[in-house]
């Protein structure tokens, strides 16, 4: 059996650094398995978030060898084990302890987005929708809220514009609402102002790290940007708005 070396970030907001650990590697093991082994053997108090261990819940996000990943879906066999594997918390969010960060801003940001407002059902009380219309939105609803896209987005990671910008996760959320076949709400005003969609400069970093392969930039952000442009910058519409005033 082979041993693998790990450098794991230990500490809290005040103080911390990488600590060295070593653990036995077995076939098919993922980074989260290694973290659990280390936790059980030599670091009982090491803080980790995890739930499903199957890539569905989005709890175990961290930065492995510098890349934002779900630790439960990152196999050790895809990493070079001749050097230590580094595991550190997501950098964008305030640290609580070890690999656990304070994600509460995300939950607050979601609350501010106008909620789903469906049209009335058909006369028989049912809704009818075509699979094609549903497919487009189902892509967005695959999101597991791992917040890796938020972690990697420059606007949040480097510029910390949490007050002006909701981040890729919530553009996907708004896109799912806006393109929902039953929804009747209009969220474009907020997208432009409070939610800051104009701040995204389409570098596609979010799309690259999405473990669900959601085409965040192409399928959510760009179409939303287009809708904002259509509503606020289309000359005919502008004229119409001026006249209406």
């Amino acid at each position: 059996m082979t041993q693998a070396a790990f450098k794991i970030w230990r500490g809290d907001a005040q103080d911390g650094g990488f600590k060295d650990y070593s653990t036995t590697v077995t076939e098919g093991m993922v980074v989260l398995d290694a973290l659990h082994q280390i936790q059980a053997d030599s670091a009982n108090d090491m803080a980790i978030r995890w739930n499903c261990k199957a890539g569905r819940c989005g709890s175990c996000s961290a930065e492995v060898n510098g890349s934002p990943r779900l630790t439960c879906m990152t196999r050790l066999s895809e990493l070079p084990l001749d050097e230590p594997v580094t595991v550190e918390p997501m950098k964008t969010f305030p640290l609580i302890k070890d690999l656990v960060t304070d994600l509460s801003w995300n939950f607050e940001a979601k609350k501010r987005i106008k909620k789903f407002r469906p049209r009335p059902p058909d006369p028989d009380g049912r809704y009818r929708m075509a699979q094609d219309d549903v497919d487009r939105v189902q892509e967005f609803r695959k999101c597991i809220e791992c917040f890796l896209c938020q972690d990697v987005c420059h606007v949040l990671r480097e510029h910390h514009m949490e007050q002006e910008f909701i981040g890729p996760r919530f553009f996907v959320y708004v896109a799912a609402l806006e393109m929902h076949p039953l929804d009747t709400e209009n969220r474009l005003e907020e997208l432009k102002r409070a939610e800051g969609i104009g701040l995204c400069n389409i570098t596609k970093c979010c799309t690259k790290v999405c473990p669900e392969d959601i085409k965040i930039t192409d399928n959510a952000i760009i179409p939303l940007k287009e809708r904002v442009v259509d509503q606020f910058y289309d000359p005919i519409r502008r004229l119409f708005r001026v006249l209406r005033k």
């Binding site: 939950f107 789903f116 009818r128 075509a130």
Partner: protein, 605 residues
Amino acid sequence: MAEYETHEYDVLVIGAGGAGLRAAIEAAASGVSVGMVCKSLLGKAHTVMAEGGIAAALANVDDRDNWRVHFADTLRGGQYLNNWRMAELHAKEAPACVRELEAWGALFDRTEDGRILQRNFGGHRYPRLAHVGDRTGLEMIRTLQDHGIHQGIQVHMERAIIALLKDGERIAGALGYDRERGRFRLFQAAAVVMATGGIGRAYKINSNSWEYTGDGDSLAYHAGAALMDMEFVQFHPTGMVWPPGVRGILVTEGVRGEGGILTNKEGRRFMFDEIPDNYRSQTAETEEEGWRYTQGDKSARRPPELLTRDHVARCIVREVREGRGSPHGGVFLDIAWIKERVPKAAEHIKRKLPSMYHQFKQLADIDITQHPMEVGPTTHYMMGGIKVDGDTQMSTVPGLFAAGECAAGLHGANRLGGNSLSDLLVFGKRAGRYAAEFAKEKGHGQINTDEAEQAARNALEPFQRGTAAGEGPYQVQQDLQEMMQDLVGIVRREDEMLRALEGISSLRERAQRVGVPGNREYNPGWHTALDLESLLTVSEAITRAALERKESRGAQFRDDYPNKDPVSGKINIIIQKGPEGEMQVRREPIPEMPAELQGIIEEMG
């Protein structure tokens, strides 16, 4: 003395999976103040793992379906030990609950004419499961979460409850701690809804997350509530078996619903070898007929792969024990074979089972559109739990309600796939409504702060012992899991279970001595030490109930009593804490079913 912050709510919901969220939404809608606590972040509860769908007799795909058929299927699957009132309400109310979810934004897969599509599942006579590919649970929890955050519910994330507090006989609140800082929190509540999910972490091979330590069952038990049907632990037939790190992760029954077949190492479809008598008339005679069923032919009967989970799991165990298993101790589940029948099969499989495709590709290097999967049984679900009133979901403790997996009754001796998500909706909603009613009528009780302080002091003991104690909590947890797996697993015997009881009492002594390093801030070692009490309590309850039921029925298979016993078929086994703190076991006759429901059972054969 331990310090704590105090919160006051009319209704406190413990757990934020499907049942907890649905209960909180309903309680808030009736105008009372609602607090909800959950051990993880919001939206991460185990409901996200549900794959197959929500069972509801919408009759969108087969118009012969209705609540009466669903009711009869549920009782047949549960071997008639079910709380028939719950089975009736569940079958009647599930369709409206699914439509309600749709009105809150859930986007189910559609039929040709735009209605909610339904799929086949084990034990359901007609295609009945409303679904979204194989990620229905995620759709459900996200819909409830996104709706729930606008209903004025106060959500306390990453908090665990360690004791329920009573005022005389009735509930008065709960004590918990926050994971982040380790501070104690006192919740005063007129009514409490338990929605804590299952007990899977009592076993080594399981499909459950760390949260599934049986907290709700254990807290309710220690507060004096009766538990019921604890012997019925569902071992899902198809968990991953290889590589070792993923052992136990669920492979949805939807694979079989879409035409997947089970074979042994000789390539034989062994499920045809043994068909239980009560399902014979509903089961396909040939492979050809089974295939036609999965493709929607209404004249065909279902393939034996879609028999109930208890039966399929036992057949897999038999194949493995008799030396016909796969290389890593399972059997083969093959969906790739449908390329013989379906054009563009690879695309079809990826579309119908995207999460499964992804899971095997990423975790096991297997392309399920080309190769069979290796699967074996995994501890999945607890049919038993807190005994509740069928209409109101109130436990035997006034003001304490329970819904979802931690409540007992709906599923009897074996749960049908898809009946869990519908359970969460129907009974989450009922628990929320009646908890709010109770709160309005009875108001708040008085909390005994001495009791709360004692619980807080006990919780801090692992720190006082520190690492000098010599043993941490993880080893005790692992030893318990291994013992339960070996001695109280799928196949049970009296001598082994008596050994398990001895094992549990020595593990309990070890648990009382464990120490943890570090401080109270986000310390999983400490949290694990506190979870041990719940795990030990439910393990003991499972073992004692399984010893008492001297027959094989549903999920309980006794090697020493391999047949059904007609007398045991008329009772539920009840577990309750005795006056000296000892665990008491008793038999309770199942109330007689009204003639109308009895008539349905007879008519459906």
